[in-house]
Assembly symmetry: C2
Homo-oligomer: 403 residues x 2
C-alpha cells in the first residue's frame, strides 16, 4: 500500500494532476498509433471509445466521457470529473454534443462487444450512424500487444504479487476454512498494495478478489468461464471458497487478484496441509512440464491452438486427461491474455485463431482436479519475446507446505 500511496502523493502534489492525459506524450502517441492501425485493418475510419478500460489505456486515467479518434485527430469529450484540462479536452453534458463532423463518410466504430445495447444505440443516433463498425475488435487487437511501459507495469504487479504469495504459508492456521484463509490472503494483498478491482471483459463473469479452493470443492462446477470452479460462499456468487475446512491430504489452490498497478498479473500456486495423493503430485508435475514446453514454444508466430494441442499431448502421455482443466466440468482453454483485464487476447484454446505476437502478455494455467485431493497445477504470467515466453511471476512452483 505504501508503494501506491507514495506513487499517488508524488503525482497528486504536482499540477499535472489536472491534466486529463496522465501518460507521457510519446506513450500516448504509441497507443493511439496501435489503435489507429487496428482500426484501419478492420475498416474503421473513426472510433468513439466509451469504455473505462480503453479510456484508461489511452489516457492513464478513468473518466466519464468519450474519446473520438480519427486517423489524424483525437478529442477527449468529458462529462466527469470537473476540472480536467489539456489539449483537445472538451466538456460536454451528453453525447449529443459530440462533434462527429470529422467522421465524414467514413465508418464510425463503436464498442459493440463492450458497451451496453442502449448506450450504443444512443451513441449511434447522436452520430447519425445506423451500422457502426465494431471498435471493440480493434481495441482488443491493439491492447493485446503491450508497450514497454505496460509490460513494466505488469511486471511490477508480478513482483508485488510474488511477494504476497511468498508470505501465504504464514497466514495459515490449522482448522481454518478456505474462506478464512482467503480473507487473510486478501487482507495481506490489500496491505501490500493490491487495488482490489478485478476487471473482466464481458457481462457474464464475476469474481471478487480471486479464488482459494480447497479439497473437493475444486470439483464443484461454476457457471463462470474460469479455469477452475468451486461452489462459492453463496449462490449469488457461485465460484471459489465454500467454507471447506482445510485438512490433511487436501490441496489449496491460490489464484488471487494481481492488480497492483491498474495492470494485473495472474498467478496460481498450490499449497498443501500434509501429504497428498501420488496422483495429485503427478498431475502437478505434469502442469510444470507443460509450462516448460510452452515457454520454449511460445515465440512470435506460434499458433495458440498448437500450444493447446501440445499441452493436451503431454497430458495424454501421462494418462491424466480425465482430470485436465476440471473433472465434473472441464474448462475449454489453458491460457489467456492479461493486462488491464483478466481475459484479453490472445486465448490459448483448441479452436482459437490467435497467433502469438511479440509483446503479448499471457497467463498459462494447465490445471487438474483430482477427486479426493483437490486442484493442482501452476499458473504464470508471461510476456512473449523473440526467444520464447519470459515469466513475470517468478516463484518456486512445487506444492508448498502449509505446516
Amino acid at each position: 500500500m505504501k508503494r501506491n500511496s507514495e506513487h499517488f502523493f508524488s503525482r497528486s502534489r504536482r499540477s499535472e494532476e489536472f491534466e486529463l492525459v496522465l501518460l507521457p506524450s510519446e506513450e500516448t502517441e504509441r497507443r493511439l498509433g496501435r489503435v489507429r492501425a487496428a482500426m484501419a485493418s478492420h475498416g474503421i475510419s473513426a472510433g468513439l471509445v466509451s469504455g473505462n478500460v480503453s479510456k484508461f489505456y489511452l489516457t492513464g486515467r478513468v473518466f466519464v466521457g468519450w474519446i473520438l479518434i480519427t486517423s489524424d485527430t483525437v478529442t477527449y469529450y468529458v462529462r466527469r470529473p470537473v476540472e480536467l484540462r489539456g489539449e483537445n479536452v472538451v466538456y460536454v453534458r451528453k453525447p449529443e454534443e459530440i462533434d462527429f463532423s470529422c467522421v465524414g463518410d467514413g465508418v464510425l466504430g463503436l464498442e459493440l462487444d463492450t458497451a451496453i445495447y442502449s448506450v450504443v444505440e444512443r451513441l449511434g443516433k447522436a452520430a447519425g450512424v445506423t451500422s457502426p463498425g465494431n471498435l471493440s475488435v480493434a481495441l482488443r487487437d491493439a491492447r493485446s500487444v503491450k508497450t514497454a511501459m505496460e509490460i513494466e507495469l505488469i511486471a511490477q504487479s508480478g513482483r508485488m504479487q510474488e511477494n504476497v504469495y511468498r508470505h501465504i504459508p504464514g497466514l495459515y492456521r490449522p482448522g481454518m476454512s478456505d474462506l478464512e484463509f482467503q480473507i487473510e490472503i486478501e487482507h495481506l494483498s490489500r496491505l501490500s498494495g493490491c487495488l482490489g478491482q478485478f476487471r473482466i471483459a464481458g457481462d457474464s463473469m464475476e469474481l471478487f478478489m480471486g479464488n482459494v479452493i480447497a479439497g473437493d470443492n475444486a470439483d464443484n462446477p461454476t457457471p463462470y468461464d474460469f479455469a477452475m470452479g468451486g461452489a462459492g460462499a453463496d449462490p449469488s456468487l457461485p465460484v471459489g471458497a465454500d467454507g471447506t475446512i482445510i485438512t490433511d491430504g487436501m490441496t489449496v489452490m491460490v489464484d488471487v487478484n494481481g492488480n497492483y498497478t491498474g495492470y494485473m498479473t495472474d498467478m496460481t500456486r498450490v499449497y498443501k496441509a500434509g501429504e497428498i495423493s501420488a496422483l495429485a503430485e503427478k498431475a502437478h508435475h505434469c502442469s510444470m512440464e507443460i509450462l516448460r514446453a510452452l515457454e520454449k514454444m511460445g515465440v512470435p508466430g506460434t499458433k495458440a491452438s498448437e500450444m493447446y494441442e501440445e499441452a493436451e499431448r503431454i497430458v495424454k502421455s501421462h494418462d491424466l486427461h480425465a482430470y485436465f482443466m476440471g473433472h465434473r466440468q472441464h474448462a475449454g482453454f489453458i491460457g489467456h491474455g492479461v493486462g488491464i483485464e483478466i481475459n484479453e487476447a490472445p486465448v490459448i484454446a483448441p479452436r482459437s485463431r490467435d497467433v502469438l505476437a511479440e509483446g503479448n502478455v499471457i497467463a498459462i494455467e494447465p490445471k487438474f482436479v483430482v477427486p479426493g485431493t483437490g486442484a493442482v497445477g501452476v499458473e504464470n504470467t508471461y510476456v512473449v519475446t523473440a526467444s520464447g515466453l519470459k515469466c513475470l511471476t517468478n516463484m518456486p512452483e512445487e506444492i508448498i507446505e502449509l505446516h
Copy 2:
C-alpha cells in the same frame, strides 16, 4: 463468515443443491408474477432474461444461460454449470438452440439497458426479431418492489453491516492512512460474512469494497456517479481513499459494502479523530434533520422529486447549500433503490419521475463536504411502508469518536 458457511453447508448437503431454482416455489411464482405484470405494462409479451442479476432474482442462483418468460410459461436454458435439474430446465450450448416459438407474433423483450450490444444482436437474430422490446425497464420496475423474503434478506444484511460498523472504532490506530483504515474495515466485513461483490447496474461505475474518505480528499471529484468522491489510490480506480493520513480535526466517512446475502444495504456513518469544525457538526445535524423529515414523508405515493426538494429546502434553511452533496463537484441525487444492485429504482433526484411504492427499498444519503474538515452526513437503508420509511440500518447517527 460462519453464518454464510453454515447457510451453505445446510443447503449443500441436501439433494436440492442440484435444483436450478433455489427459491421456494411460491416465491418463484411471486417474482415471476411481478415480472409478467411489468412486461405487460410495457407491452412485452415474452422476455428473454440474460443478465446475472435478474437470473439471480428469478431463481436464487447465478448460472450461464437464459430464462424465457411468457405470460404462462417459463423455460430455463442453461449452458453452465453442469448437472442442474428441475422442471423446464433445458441444456443448450448456444442461444440459437432456444425455442422461441412461444413468442408467436408478440413483442420479445431483451435486456437492452443491461446486456452488451453484440449479445443483444445475437439474441435478436436467434429469435428472428429486429426490434426487441426493452425488458430491462420491466425488470427494473419488477425488482424495485421487494417481496417479504427479499426485505428479510436486506434486513439481514443490515444487521450484519451494523455489527461491523459498531466495531470500526476499535480498528483505528493513530497515524493510520484512510487506506489502511479501509483495509481493516474490509477485513472485518469479510470475516463478518460480507460477500465482497459489489453489484452496480450500468457499465460506467466501478467500486471495490466501498469508500472510506478522510478530510479534504472528500472534495476530490470522482468521475463515477457516486454521492461522494475521493481521488482513489490509483488513477485506474479514481474514487475513495487516497492515502491521506487521518489527523485531528478531520472526519472519516465510512460507506462500505453491505452485501451479506446477495442483497445489500447501503449505510454511511462518520467518524472523527479529535474535534471538528462547528460548520461540519452543523451540516451533519442537518443531514439527520433531513432523514427525520423524509422518514415521515416517505409513504407510498410520495414523489421522489418532492423528497429531494424537501431535503434541499432544509439545506437552504441552514444556509448549507454550497456544501450539499459535494463542494468542488456536486452529485445530482440524495437517494437510490438498493437490492441485488446498489443503484436500483426509485431514484431520489430533482428530475426523477419515480413515485414511492410500498416495498421499495431505498438508501437516503444527504451528505456534505466541508473544506478543511471532510465529508459528513448519514446514510440509511429504508423499506417503504404505509406509515413511512422503516430503517434497516439501525445504529446511532452522531459522529463517532475514533479515540
